[in-house]
Symmetry: C2
Subunit: 166 residues, 2 copies
DNA sequence: CCACTTTGGTTGCTTATTGAAACTGATGCT
DNA sequence: AGCATCAGTTTCAATAAGCAACCAAAGTGG
């Protein structure tokens, strides 16, 4: 068979192109349907048919997406809390941590894509009952993060999770 | 058999399904290549060939993605700051506001997808020179946002941008 | 000025993915 | 039992992605 050496992602000895966390994440969740499934999951949707009706997605695609989300550890299947013997897809801890991503998408969409007067369903802040105010990324010391204050650094190994807070 | 009435997405006269900002945003940027283009744009990449080399994307696909990002007002073309007469793709204000999205993707990827010891390029905090600490979404009053404190509200019209802060 | 390279695409062609619908086989409901 | 619902799987047409070749305009070296 021809083409004996094609998949040249990383060669031995070559300076391994550093893994990009953005790319890895985009590979898993950088997909229209996947993002909408996550949105629905955060809105409490649990069952196959609920996702299907909410999204209008083809069943085979939904099946494939749910399977890959389960395989990725973002969703897991549960025995189905509602009496029935059907199982439910619920967010894992790993999945719940994608909340920021959906919030980022939502707030950007609200600010830049939704026209004034358009009817939409806002995310409410349970503490106040009002639509969630604009949230901003803060560092642990409470200072807000701006794009201009960041730059990409040189490749380095991922540090082991330091238990030292602050 | 027939099942004459299946596609019941939206009927005429029915209560119009409210626009979802997450869906609108996902339609525009919920795509692997688009997310990676944005990542690169935030990393300072400006020109067609730079994007192409950085991503290894086919040029026709890159061309289509850049065009649609320009059409969406996320990028704009500039005369090319570097002397040459070639033009550059730069983030608009609307595009810069997607920074949170890329940060969310990046931090989630760093926490859940990158193994300890793996070499990657961290985003540095220019103020400290150290890798960006874990940033969290805060409300204007400084309280952190948790998924469990939110719920989806009833449809309502988009409020006109209130100039009243706080 | 002329040859050659790089840039920023476009056009065709070949795969891979999506999406609509039909088919299956378990529940669940009365 | 009989029918609807649920959670898929399979099949197949339409769409999109990826690849290679081509091209014109701009830059580069001599």
């Amino acid at each position: 068979m021809p083409d004996p050496d094609d998949r040249r992602e990383q060669h031995a000895g070559a300076p391994v192109p550093p893994t990009c966390p953005v790319m890895s994440a985009a590979d898993l969740v950088g997909d229209r349907w996947t993002l909408l499934i996550l949105r629905d999951a955060f809105n409490g949707i649990r069952r196959f048919s609920q996702f299907q009706r909410s999204l209008g997605i083809a069943r085979n695609i939904l099946s494939a997406r749910l399977s890959s989300l389960v395989a990725a550890g973002i969703l897991h299947t549960e025995p189905g809390a509602d009496g029935t013997s059907y199982s439910a897809y619920a967010l894992t801890h790993k999945g719940i941590e994608l909340f920021d991503l959906i919030v980022a998408l939502r707030q950007w969409g609200e600010r830049h894509l939704i026209d004034d007067g358009t009817v939409y369903r806002p995310l409410l802040d349970i503490r106040t009952g009002a639509p969630l105010p604009r949230v901003t990324y803060m560092r642990p010391d409470g200072t807000p993060l701006h794009h201009s204050e960041t730059r990409l650094g040189e490749p380095r190994p991922m540090a082991t999770e330091e238990p030292s807070s602050i």
